[in-house]
Symmetry: C2
Subunit: 202 residues, 2 copies
Amino acid sequence: MPVKDWLAPAIRAASSERKLEAGEALFRVGDKTAGVYEIVVGRVRLVRVDRSGHEVVLHVAGVGDTIAEASLYSPHYHCDAIASTDAVVRLYPKAAVLSAFTQDARLAQAFTAMLAQQVMSLRTRVEQRNIRSARERVRHYLSANADATGRQVTLRGTLKDLAAELGLSHEALYRTLAVLERTGAIKRDKGRILLTGKAKAL
Amino acid sequence: MPVKDWLAPAIRAASSERKLEAGEALFRVGDKTAGVYEIVVGRVRLVRVDRSGHEVVLHVAGVGDTIAEASLYSPHYHCDAIASTDAVVRLYPKAAVLSAFTQDARLAQAFTAMLAQQVMSLRTRVEQRNIRSARERVRHYLSANADATGRQVTLRGTLKDLAAELGLSHEALYRTLAVLERTGAIKRDKGRILLTGKAKAL
DNA sequence: CGAGTGATTGACTTAGATCAATGACCGTGG
DNA sequence: CCACGGTCATTGATCTAAGTCAATCACTCG
């Protein structure tokens, strides 16, 4: 979610940075909301923990993304934010953001549009999570995350991370990728996945 | 999603109603966006169709809910809207809504807050979809949809509808409910499900 | 050089999808 | 008024794919 659109100088002036180590929590469910965070360095994941103790990954935010936008209108966070890597985040305090929005309607509009965008991408995610087949799920991910050429996907983080993001066991992901590679639908190359012509057929 | 908060008289004046028969499409993926719809009577579901031809239910909107909010900022719809029952919907045209927002910042603000709310509930939905166990999924649904007393859930529509909404086969849902009833965790009563004390334990 | 983690593969188990059949309950037209 | 077609609700049998447990290898970090 691009920050530029709704980020006014007044907001930036009120912001502050914070460093996180890999595994460190930025905030937890129920914490009082401070504001919106932008990822400056690294990756931060939003998760909930289900009763069996498993982490469910709601979102993985990379550099330039913002998280906790909804917190502007909520007194406390509704999920955990955990640094997946060492990371630096920038906090835009709630009050500063909200007051900037009342000053400049265009900012508010851009922010709203961004939220609308998020709603759509979350819907896509719901759709993806509805797919039971590991192969289809992986395909769905690959086609949704291919670069402009549609032939290449750059992996963020480890395959294990990806497995969690996809809601698959890491073993299932390894196996699925292995099968796709064996059948020639993809080629793997150190942090990247190349989609071959066969990718669509399978 | 409550309409009242952001619905100004100017918007209402520009709105119009439309009747739908059960199964009829309000709009389809790719259609040009007309605006936001409010459900006046009946239920409308938002779905996508995956490549195997299965419907994936993204959302079921009931009376008073609005759908396609994100369409304000998008040139075309990104999912299908199908009437689950005979229904009446009210269209608030894009232009009227957007211009009302520029007139009155509080409306825009309320709308934004509503979107933020939706983001959260979609996140919850993603979480739910990540649960593999049918029993846990059903439990998750029941606890998320219990009334104020926390002891009763009123079903909207048929069990088959619910199964689709939960992303389960209808057989799996029947079986799961049967087991829960047999173990005494729930009682069923014509369109309602009563949660007993045991409900939490299981 | 060990400890820790990721990547990978094998073996086994299980829960849910799928196919199938049945009964109940409409509404409808003859 | 009732037989008939349609849908929902329900249950049984079977199959498959993904989870789980477990072991191995490679790599990195201190």
